[in-house]
Amino acid sequence: MLQFLARRLLVALLVCLTVLTFAFALTRLAGDLAISIAGPNSTAADIEVVRKAYGLDRPLVEQFFDWVSRAMVGDFGRSYFFREKVSTLIFSRLPITLTLGLVGLGIALSVALPLGVISALREGRPIDRIISLVALLGQAMPSFWLGLVLMITFGLHLGWLPISGTGTWQHFVMPGVVLAFSAIPALMRLTRSGMIDAMSADYIRTARAKGLSRTSIVLKHAARNAAMPVVSIAAVQLGFMLGGSIVIETVFALHGVGFLAWESISKNDFPTVQAVVLLLAIIYTLLTLGADLLNAVLDPRLRAA
């Protein structure tokens, strides 16, 4: 178990380092930063001043190691656009994105799991077909469009929910639903196929031969085995959701990390862009690590490996 943990942590660390390098490289590849920071109407002298001030005149390698060593201790420098420390900026935005992600995942799981299980138990019957069809339609729907439809219906016409901002929990309902929608089809299909596999396994026949109740057979014996791939995908989906929250945070004007990413990219605020990319990568690796650990708890064979 300890060995398992150590190996996973090492992999996570390597992934973060790689992303760190890419984040740095991408912002430099996007063009001459000094020019875009100085603005379109600046003279060559202005640009030189900017270049010096931001340390962009130093060799790239030096810039990189400087940035990495600071990043290690949580210092991402100051944002060019917001005139604030990047770390402060991010930590003030993070709770909103995390809340949105968790609400989204919560909604996605509470819809996808029961539907997936019902589909599996009624494999090939009308209810299974209907659920699959709805999932397919859901997948085909772009989230900005769904977001707008919800806003118009529940926000404007019915007036049940606020259409933008972050004041109360109600503010997270619509964005959460939109975010969940993109994850539901994959989660549901995985739950369905996992449950179908599990229900036809020999150990389920044994469970039935033991006279166990239907509830115990489905929820204890089958679900536990079907859960493992679902956990892995749920982690990946949550990662996608955090990435996808760029669109949704923009549509619903939620000032989270996604919105920040959008703003900083459009303003060429590269310290912020780098930090946001790194943060998303860390969250992503943590999620995968968490999923691996949860799977090890679910499957004794993984613990032994």
Binding site: D202, R208, A209, K210, G211, L212, H221, R224, P300, A304
Partner: protein, 323 residues
Amino acid sequence: MSALLEVEELDISFGALSAVRGASLEVRRGETHCLVGESGCGKSVTALAVMGLLPRNSVRQARRLAFDGKDILSLDEKGLSRLRGDRMAMIFQEPMTSLNPAYTVGSQMAEVLVRHRGASKRAALDRAAELLARVRITSPGMRLGQYPHQLSGGLRQRVMIAMALMCDPELLIADEPTTALDVTVQAQILRLLADLQKDLGLAILLITHDLGVVARTAHRVSVMYAGEVVESSPVDRLFNRPMHPYTRGLLSCVPVPGKVRRDQPLGSIPGMVPHVTQGFEGCAFRQRCALARPDCSGPIGRRRPEADRVYLCQIAPEEMTVS
């Protein structure tokens, strides 16, 4: 007193395929009843039909299906599940996959007693440890905390047997419990089953390919061929004087030490088992039978040459001279 398990005229079909046709058999209290026959003749589905565990794509019909004199044909899943694991239990051919990989041996065993007897987890685990010792597993306390992947095939099958015994069932159905195991382990498991049968007064319906096993353990034997029970008899009389030509063929194929290889498959009678679909008429063995006559393609009579014996053939016992 009626037999513990009575199966009369059981039919099982998968779409057009007739897997079992009019099979009848009886398992009496405290007896080992062996069900033998070539691969695909319907032994497993017969056993599953008794337990109510047939796959969804099958249709089961019977004139009578009774356990301890009570009809179980009309029981729904819920009613059946009260009997299963409690008064009748089953172990399977695949010990490697029959236990749930995600739960410990102890937890899988305990839940049977908790379910049927409302026992506490603690008491159920005590009982599980006792039964693991009973099936000759060493350090049962430690095994309770292990997961299936930590056990060998032989150990897993012992766990399955112990688990089947949790509620002291009257009937144990064992579907080729040793086929997937090493030869030495096979012998141990069969000896264990025979001992349990004697000590606990269990009735066992044992499905097997191995006539050696039948000779050593059975009280009664039913021979299946292409979905039918073609002969049913006490074991000694079956071996002394087989009636049905198929049984005779089987017995002539029993390996004799020094003459035939030990692993020769049972039933190496020339020809193939026919594919039997709905509406099949006559004796399914007739193409392979040395004694076949024109009337073998019509309805086949059920003959009772002596008490307790029955076979399905057109040919009367006194005519069975050629062989």
